[in-house]
Point group: C2
Amino acid sequence: MDSSERLIESARELLWERGYVGMSPRAVQRRAGAGQGSMYHHFSGKQDLAAAALRRSAAELREQAERTLSGPGGACERVAAYLLHERDALRGCRVGRMAQDPEVIAAPALREPVAETFAWLRARLAEVLREGAASGQLPGSLDPDDTAAALAAVLQGGYVLARAEGGAEPYERAVRGALALLTAQARPAATP
Amino acid sequence: MDSSERLIESARELLWERGYVGMSPRAVQRRAGAGQGSMYHHFSGKQDLAAAALRRSAAELREQAERTLSGPGGACERVAAYLLHERDALRGCRVGRMAQDPEVIAAPALREPVAETFAWLRARLAEVLREGAASGQLPGSLDPDDTAAALAAVLQGGYVLARAEGGAEPYERAVRGALALLTAQARPAATP
DNA sequence: GTCTATATAAGGATAGAC
DNA sequence: GTCTATCCTTATATAGAC
């Protein structure tokens, strides 16, 4: 792994742990085992490095979600699989975490990957929910866009509660609670 | 308003906007119109000041929630009123925001108000949901603790989505979506 | 490409005068 | 109680040698 690569991976970790404001170029360099010169050779500065790291994390999240959402099973089962996917609740979401940072929100290069990720996720979840309505698994009375937003929010909010309280329990409860509300709406999938 | 008071209020604003890592004593002093000496006379340092500000924000959140949750109407209506309470989605939650900050999580004096707030909120929401089950408005099949966690998470996650995408829409959708799932479970309240 | 100065500003706090 | 002076460290970046 070359040093540019190590810098990006180190930035990804530090962004996750400390956010953009809390990520210092020095700390990234130390963790990557690279010097000042190396970093400023590959990247124009802190923001440029963070943008590269963030784009990678956003792509990763998206690929991971797509794998589950386009997997086997009925619409409801795929949404459930996505919600129940194993996550470290206390670490939270690499992408969602950035949304709190005012400097991320203010810098288009940093904000775009974050905005796009969640716009995509909501749309993709809504699409699956629409399939569920079309197949009769879910009632047509549920607005798929609203439901999708609620489900995406439960995950992001679950992280907040878990970190606040110092344990994964609130996250797990939130996911279970949301899933219970959703599946209460579903009839068993047609089993062909 | 004396200068101690102004310092706390300024700290509250800056914590909200920039988080604990991003809040510098200098910036608080400037906003409060107070000097170094004044701040260090009233508070032992950044953490002490932030703790005072955070305790106040936590108390405020709790009082606000309690007003709605102990208000008039059936259980379901009170939960709905709490969810629909007007909030600035792009600014987010003064307390929830702190949960992302590693230095807040690491410092007991900062973390406690955050942890207590959400533990209380989940418990209080669950209590109201239990009332709803007892009165027959909600089905006994819903786990009140799980549902409460899901609802609290929807709000916190709604803020994340809103900030990420730069508009209140995802927040509003998330709240509507969650409420739709909940009220689909409810029968009309007994109208005595 | 990477290293070692070097630079300016800010962070966070202390000391002592008034 | 508040002000000013001072302190050491870190953040972020540039410059130029190798």
